[in-house]
């Protein structure tokens, strides 16, 4: 009995939770008047997608977002691997002090420092470039912390063995530590890609042209009420821009959830 109540409650909440997405699917595939009147047997159509696709340089936006998440990810991998390794396996004066500084950055959110970061990016000549959007996130304190934890768990015997084989320090890092930390890299990659695919405020500030604008900013401009776009077309555009990530999530759900967990708990 109580099990049945649980099932009903759980499913009811689940239906409420996906309903915004379901309504968007409904609206995107129907003409606006059919969509808002909920004419259940009305014909399905792809017109909204055609209208939306023609209304903005979406292909360019997709490329931009793709370049952005790739740039950020490559930068993060390099920087956090080097720094994480130094914190995990090397002894040097000032290490603890620097580590506390890094941890402080966890609370100095890049979002909060928009004004000065904008000034800095302009000063570096990176305003309205994809590198300018990605750069503040590359030395991620969170990533450094994550890689440090991963490298710490590598047994020192492997390190010693590689050293006896004549491997240099960077060689050991590359041949022993990096391969062993693969699950952490995967988790970090999933979290990083979905974070930056979805990021909005900072790209809004730093980009100023269709050539650099990521999907989220493009979507917000496309959906602005001033443009008078109707709900079906907005839904179509929204679905289009979330589709790659959403499909990836539905296919690799377990990995996504594991990734967020690993990233959060460690």
């Amino acid at each position: 009995m109580s099990n049945r109540i649980d099932t009903i409650g759980a499913v009811l909440l689940a239906v409420i939770w996906v309903s915004p997405l379901l309504f968007a699917v409904w609206a995107a595939f129907h003409s606006t008047s059919d969509a808002v009147n909920f004419t259940l047997l009305s014909p399905w159509t792809l017109d909204n997608f055609r209208t939306a696709w023609a209304g903005a340089p979406w292909f360019q936006y997709f490329i931009n977002t793709f370049l952005l998440v790739t740039t950020v990810l490559i930068g993060q991998f390099i920087l956090t691997t080097l720094a994480g390794f130094a914190f995990a396996k090397l002894e040097f004066p000032g290490k603890d002090f620097v580590f506390i500084l890094v941890l402080m950055q966890l609370f100095i959110l890049p979002e909060v420092l928009i004004v000065e970061n904008y000034a800095m990016v302009s000063r570096l000549g990176l305003f309205d470039t994809i590198l300018g959007v990605g750069m503040p996130y590359m030395a991620s304190a969170f990533g450094i912390f994550l890689m440090r934890q991963a490298f710490k768990s590598v047994p020192i015997e492997l390190h010693e063995a590689a050293r006896i084989e004549g491997c240099g320090l960077l060689g050991i890092l590359w041949r022993v530590y990096v391969p062993l930390a693969k699950p952490t890299y995967l988790a970090y990659a999933l979290v990083s890609v979905s974070t930056h695919w979805n990021n909005f405020l900072w790209p809004l500030i730093v980009t100023n042209s269709p050539e650099t604008r990521p999907l989220t900013v493009g979507l917000s401009i496309f959906g602005a009420p001033e443009n008078g776009v109707d709900i079906s077309v907005i839904s179509a555009a929204t679905l289009m821009s979330v589709a790659p990530l959403l499909i990836a999530f539905l296919l690799f759900q377990r990995q996504f959830v594991q990734a967020f967990l690993r990233a959060g708990i460690k």
Partner: protein
């Protein structure tokens, strides 16, 4: 031998600092220097064509304290935090308990709860626009079935902030759920069996055994939710733009507006410093209080 050890130590020090350099440079450029520069520029007046910027001390801060909009925004953000944090934690807990129980459709339920997490806030706002639009929106149509009048959820000061709050809860509850889910799976089965043998009701078991064991997770989620209550403002750009008459404006949005719409960087800087102070206090609490308590896990 001694000189060999010394050499090794020196080698490690050089390598250590070399490996840290790239990250240290970027952290300095995009976190530490901007924090100090923000503090610095919050002490100067605005640079206009007629009057160059000059040192004004705490004037920008006293201006803000005298600005009713600032206090309204602070009040809004406190309400935003005060509602989104406990409600999304409570919903996340219920979701986790359900997603962990032996019910049919568990896979669908889990996916449904977690899906909003992978959507951009901007997209989420667009989805919810379909709910909130007066007359045509889903909420109004459902209300219409019961003969309720049309409500402009986003367009009136009484409801705008609440509409924003609901979207935030929808977005983050599923994310918090996975941490509870992970914690629930570490609770040994025999505790449940022991409670059953003792004749404890399910409610007693949940309240006396499960909830205390979830305490560290709750604290961890709470810190995250607190940070989110500063950070999650993207949907304002789509849904209300802080309006009507600032009724749904939150601090980070106001900072953005001050700096990039009103071009008043000094006051934006002063507000940024206050936000950093609050975040710093949260960090300190987590550092000295929560970290100690979670170690018994």
């Amino acid at each position: 031998m001694n000189s060999h050890v010394n050499l090794e130590r020196r080698r490690q020090a050089i390598y250590g600092w070399l490996l840290l350099t790239p990250a240290a440079i970027l952290l300095s450029i995009f976190a530490f220097y901007p924090s100090i520069a923000t503090l610095w520029s919050s002490l100067f007046s605005r640079n206009t064509r007629r009057r160059p910027s000059e040192y004004v001390g705490g004037e920008n801060y006293t201006d803000l304290f005298a600005d009713p909009t600032f206090w309204l925004v602070v009040k809004n953000n406190l309400l935003y935090a005060g509602v989104t944090i406990p409600v999304s934690i409570a919903i996340a807990l219920a979701m986790a308990l359900w997603a962990n129980s032996k019910i049919s459709a568990r896979g669908f339920v889990r996916t449904a709860y977690f899906t909003p997490t992978v959507l951009p806030m901007i997209a989420a706002a667009n989805l919810w626009l379909f709910f909130y639009t007066p007359g045509l929106g889903v909420l109004d149509q459902i209300g219409g079935l019961f003969g309720l009048p049309s409500v402009n959820w986003l367009g009136q000061p009484e409801t705008a902030l609440w509409a924003i709050i609901i979207v935030t809860i929808w977005k983050e509850a599923g994310f918090f759920m996975i941490f509870y889910l992970a914690a629930l799976q570490t609770i040994p089965e025999d505790l449940k069996e022991a409670a059953d043998i003792e004749g404890a009701s399910r409610w007693t078991y949940t309240r006396r055994i499960v909830l205390p064991l979830l305490m560290p997770t709750t604290l961890f989620i709470m810190v995250n939710a607190l940070i989110n209550s500063v950070k999650l403002i993207d949907h304002l750009f789509i849904l209300t733009k802080g309006g009507p008459s600032d009724a749904s404006k939150l601090i980070l949005y106001y900072i953005w507006e001050m700096a990039f719409a009103f071009f008043d960087a000094p006051h934006a800087a002063a507000m940024t410093i206050m936000v950093l102070l609050v975040l710093g206090i949260v960090a300190a609490i987590q550092f000295f209080y929560i970290d100690k308590r979670t170690h018994y896990q």
